[in-house]
């Protein structure tokens, strides 16, 4: 960074964030490194609290589902309508997209275009694959008369799994937005913080899916 002086002067002409002399900057930077929490960590913490509140909301849906899972009102039970092979593919899609999302977050921090954009595209493809399988499953269930209006069990099922699907849809839109933002604005620190929040969101969706495929699908079929 031999041009750092010139850049700092242009971007911050009144030295609002700095002490003017070059000699003083280094000790202050070291001091800051020791004393101040980085903005990245504070942003991550704040977003983590949002995600935990989202998980609390999902836990209410899980509790509802667990209470109502036997209330089939003479209609189809989980064993009749769930197809574990499709669920396995959905699980693989979401797990792999979580992995590639992690690779993308490393790519963003490394300012590596191929790594970031490539992984984000793969993440979006797996996410879209998951979503289309889920929509296919829902449409198939409604077609055989196992829609949300059939029984309390199916209402709770569509609420819980549909809410997760809605989160994945929003996550996909956010993913495309983050690709566009990095493309247009580059790897700026504020953009990188948004990428961090997005990757936390995407990983959390996968954690919720682990609970869904265990509680709803595997237990519903094993019951």
């Amino acid at each position: 960074m031999s041009t750092s002086q010139g850049i700092a002067g242009r971007v911050d002409p009144h030295h609002l964030g700095h002490v003017g002399q070059a000699g003083l900057r280094q000790p202050i930077a070291e001091h800051a490194a020791r004393e101040l929490t980085s903005k990245r960590i504070i942003v991550g913490y704040g977003f983590w609290i949002f995600l935990l509140s989202d998980i609390v909301m999902f836990s209410a849906f899980f509790a509802t589902y667990a209470v109502l899972s036997d209330a089939t009102a003479g209609g189809p039970s989980g064993r009749d309508v769930f197809h574990l092979d499709i669920v396995a593919i959905e699980t693989a899609c979401l797990l792999l997209s979580s992995f590639t999302c992690g690779i993308a977050s490393i790519g963003a921090r490394a300012h590596n275009n191929l790594m970031y954009f490539g992984s984000m595209v793969v993440t979006a493809a797996f996410g879209a694959g998951f979503l289309s399988l889920e929509i296919h499953e829902f449409v198939g269930m409604i077609a055989i008369g196992a829609g949300p209006e059939r029984s309390a069990f199916l209402s709770a099922f569509f609420t819980l799994v549909g809410c997760h699907g809605l989160h994945v849809t929003l996550g996909l839109m956010w993913l495309l937005t983050m690709m566009a933002q990095v493309f247009a604005k580059g790897y700026r620190p504020d953009i990188l913080r948004r990428v961090l929040c997005f990757s936390l969101f995407w990983h959390t969706l996968d954690i919720i899916w682990v609970a869904i495929f265990t509680v709803v699908y595997l237990m519903g079929v094993a019951r």
Partner: protein, 131 residues
Amino acid sequence: MSDSEPILHPGDISPGDERVEGREIAEGVLAYLVGLGLATLITVVAFFISGTTLVWQPSIPIALVVLAVAQMGVHLVFFIHITTGPDATNNILALAFGVLIVMLLMVGSLWIMYHLNQNMMPMEQMMQMQR
């Protein structure tokens, strides 16, 4: 793209915000690979156990719950990077509080509704009495 534009305050890069390079990239990718491997292993075991007749049937739901908790732990550590480092103390405290609320909600709901079901008079009997 960004490297040619003077968009950074050179003195404003916080610790942890520096551009990662070479070895750090490899270490990061390796951590995600380990997480992916563990998560895949646990998922495969869970799907296998749910359909097997090899084990005592009532133990299957408990095994599934244990595997799910284990997989969530793998995701938290390897994907969300909830660690024991000094930067993550607040995250862990928030997580502990979240787990407490989730447990209260889930266990409380199931407990109450189970007992309500137990103590509820069967519908036919109630209709007999109202006659």
